[in-house]
């Protein structure tokens, strides 16, 4: 109906049950198996062969007769195949179960990546697992959250950060950091290098594991003090601060070597920050040839030119020229 502009976001629900993430994952994986079978229960190749006194060719839809561990579904769907084949599958969640789901079914992966080494490690994990289960890793796009705070000068951007975060000052940011991470303010030294192990979240906790991983991953790969770390993320997502040029540089930085495939913009304040980003940063990205000036194609799938055949050798197409331009996903906040 909306001609294929839809993306479907599958997150494992945070259930109030005594389930840990790795036991939820098989249900999510089977859920997607069933959804894909239903979306494929109509055969588009047979359309157009229907004689004039028939509305549809009955043999073009078939039951799926899924009998699985969690679901029993006969099908077919009573809605034919959509312009995109099936909606683009977006996935968020970086626990082990989440990565398994991303590898098996995800196409657009929301995540929090705060640095290059952390991003490369995450990408390798997801795409490696995808290869293991027989998927084309080129069919997976890593689009971490991104908070951009733009100023006339870097100083102005820093002050805006303090203002928008509600902490009011750098000291305020540091106090929040100590509180969020359970650090005793009496012994807290904002200029001491932080230890990564201190920030590893518990894999079995029921709340989103992936969010906490961003910081511990960052600290594993970079030696940072709290004063530096508070400027690297906001709301668990990568923070890029500065003038429009500086923000554009940082955006391109992690993209150009393939650490990330694009970003999910998380503007601190709507609509002002969306407008500011669109007016000041997007033109720079366009001038540098990394972001399209026009929508290419009608569907969201057209904008992420995913391979259509899994058998195709993905390695040939991962060279620079074949990579898709920077994708600006719709602003979402999680």
């Amino acid at each position: 109906m909306d001609y294929g502009r839809i993306g479907s976001c599958c997150k494992i629900a945070h259930r109030c049950r005594s389930l840990v993430n790795f036991t939820v994952s098989p249900r999510a994986i089977e859920f997607l198996d069933v959804a894909k079978k239903l979306w494929a229960s109509w055969d588009p190749r047979r359309e157009g062969e229907v004689p004039p006194d028939r509305f549809w060719d009955a043999s073009s839809a078939r039951t799926i007769d899924h009998e699985g561990q969690f679901f029993h579904v006969r099908g077919p769907l009573n809605v034919p195949r959509s312009p995109q084949g099936h909606p683009v599958i977006a996935q968020a969640g970086a626990s082990e179960g989440g990565i398994e789901l991303a590898a098996r079914h995800g196409e657009i992966i929301y995540c929090n990546i705060l640095s290059r080494p952390a991003g490369q490690a995450f990408t390798k994990k997801v795409k490696g697992k995808a290869i293991e289960v027989g998927r084309d890793p080129f069919a997976i796009r890593i689009v971490p959250g991104l908070v951009a705070i733009i100023g006339e000068t870097r100083e102005e951007a820093l002050r805006k950060h303090e203002l928008f975060s509600g902490t009011g000052s750098e000291d305020g940011l540091l106090a929040r950091f100590a509180k969020e991470n359970g650090i005793d303010p009496a012994t807290f030294d904002p200029d001491a290098v932080l230890e990564a192990e201190r920030f590893v979240p518990d894999q079995n906790r029921q709340w989103a594991v992936g969010m906490g991983l961003g910081l511990s991953d960052l600290l594993t790969h970079e030696k940072l003090t709290a004063r530096q770390a508070v400027r690297r993320s906001e709301g668990h997502h990568r923070l890029v601060l500065g003038t429009p040029e500086e923000v554009a540089d940082q955006i391109i930085d992690l993209w150009q070597d393939g650490t990330v495939d694009g970003y999910t913009l998380q503007p601190p304040r709507a609509p002002d920050d969306i407008e500011e980003f669109v007016e000041k940063v997007v033109p720079i990205l366009q001038d540098r040839g990394v972001y399209p000036r026009e929508y290419e194609g009608r569907t969201i799938r057209d904008r992420y030119p995913f391979p259509t055949r899994i058998e195709q050798d993905w390695r040939d197409r991962t060279d620079r020229n074949e990579r898709c331009p920077l994708q600006g996903s719709l602003p979402v906040s999680i």
């Binding site: 109906m1 509305f55 009955a58 839809a61 029993h72 006969r74 099908g75 009573n78």
Partner: protein, 441 residues
């Protein structure tokens, strides 16, 4: 003020007549073409219709595939996706959708209707169905359909949970005080904590109270428990009576049950579904209907007739009248009698009769704008209905005939509004806004 009619449009499928998509000039893909649906709803809104109704089924329809393959009813949009899109291109017309109490969860249903009500500015209505199509069960992990009585028992509790969830927030709970930084007042949030036979739902809903308090409650059940559920809960009933006499009986039956349920019968509107075929003369309208019926393929038609008769009709001569002495079976006494009556009244051949049953066998108003307006006036005055759920014979022409010819005639007689007086569906239907059960005004 004298009584006036309420009109809703039955739009999923856009026509219940299985031959509709083959009628000359019809949009064959109308069920599944957003552009067409958008133009239909905008025409209905210009004609001041009360509501646009999306029925729903959770499986492809359970007819034999030989019949199904010739049916445009096989595929339609999922109602919420469509109605959300249509809400954006309309301002006044109500948006009614079916949601199943057998295969859905109260929390999901409460959220979807609350959202649609907010998005549309108070135009949503929920048609409560228990889903009669047995094939739906097999899409939801069940090998057998849930038994009828149990479905209705579940439906009643489902209704209590959904309406309780809609009442989670008091109407004035969301204060958004930018000065103090308080967004809502927790004193005005109720946690439902429902624990019943069928459902355990904690709540609260994470959506502010709907614009209409509750979206309008619709029911279409025709059985005993169906009528009882309607009397206890519904504000709008989609009925399927055969004729004026059965409509009057049904009207009296449902409204008669309301006082015992502590309700005022004026707070429920009964709108029978009727296919409306308009011509410049009665004969021309009848000819259109006959042509429409003739587009129903004989194979699927004869199967439908056999079901209605309770006897295999495939051996009958298609171009002769119905043979005498068709054996009587216990299973279908009333169905058989109805077929015989229709064959006799309209002097139909086996083929014509079969095509009637394979096309659309329900109530039809066929004539000129004037004769149909006369009939509608009679139904209204004789307490057979409070209006109609219009089924279009083919589109766009059948719909245009209603909005451009019949509606002006009804307006001229003062039987139908010339303009909307309110902006919510409750206002169109003359229904009051329900009080919040946890936060009385």
């Amino acid at each position: 003020m004298s009584k006036t009619l309420h009109l809703t449009a039955f739009m999923r499928p856009v026509s219940l007549h299985t031959g509709a998509w083959r009628y000359p000039g019809a949009y064959a893909d109308a069920n599944f073409n957003f552009g067409h649906l958008k133009s239909f709803i905008q025409k209905l809104e210009r004609a001041k219709f009360d509501a646009f109704f999306m029925a729903d089924h959770l499986a492809v329809l359970n007819m034999p595939v030989e019949a199904l393959k010739r049916s445009h009813t096989v595929t339609s949009f999922e109602p919420f996706t469509l109605l959300s899109a249509l809400a954006a291109v309309t301002d006044k017309i109500g948006l009614a959708a079916t949601a199943s109490t057998t295969f859905d969860e109260p929390y999901h249903v409460a959220r979807r209707f609350a959202s649609l009500d907010h998005i549309s500015g108070g135009r949503a209505a929920w048609n409560i169905v228990t889903t009669s199509n047995p094939d739906a069960a097999r899409n939801f992990g069940l090998s057998e359909h849930v038994e009828h009585g149990e479905r209705y028992q579940r439906a009643r509790e489902f209704f209590d949970v959904v309406t309780g969830l809609w009442d989670s927030f008091a109407d004035d709970a969301i204060i958004r005080d930018q000065e103090s930084g308080i967004f809502f007042d927790p004193e005005k949030l109720h946690v439902l904590d429902h624990k019943g036979e069928e459902f355990s739902v904690r709540g609260p809903l994470n959506i502010a109270r709907p614009v209409q308090g509750w979206p309008v409650i619709v029911q279409a059940g025709q059985s005993e428990p169906g009528k009882q559920l309607a009397a206890e809960t519904a504000e709008l009933v989609f009925a399927a009576p055969r004729d004026l006499a059965t409509a009057k009986a049904l009207y009296a039956d449902i409204k008669g049950r309301m006082p015992a349920a502590g309700r005022n019968p004026a707070h429920l509107k009964i709108l029978p579904a009727a296919m409306i075929v308009i011509g410049d003369s009665v004969d021309e309208a009848k000819a259109k209907r006959a042509h429409l019926d003739s587009l129903v393929h004989y194979d699927s038609a004869i199967a439908s007739l056999s079901i209605a008769l309770g006897h295999d009709a495939s051996g009958f001569d298609p171009d002769a009248p119905l043979p005498d002495n068709i054996p009587d079976t216990n299973a279908s006494k009333s169905g058989r009698a109805q077929v015989l009556r229709l064959a006799e009244q309209e002097k139909l051949t086996v083929r014509q009769l079969a095509q009637r049953y394979g096309g659309y066998a329900g109530l039809a108003l066929i004539g000129t704008p004037k004769t149909i307006a006369d009939e509608m006036e009679t139904w209204l005055n004789e307490e057979a209905s409070d209006g109609f759920t219009c089924v279009f014979p083919f589109l766009p022409q059948g719909l245009d005939d209603v909005t451009e010819k019949l509606v002006p005639e009804l307006q001229r007689r003062g039987l139908f509004r010339k303009d909307y007086e309110g902006s919510t569906l409750r206002e169109h239907l003359g229904l009051s806004r329900p009080a919040n059960r946890f936060f009385p005004a």
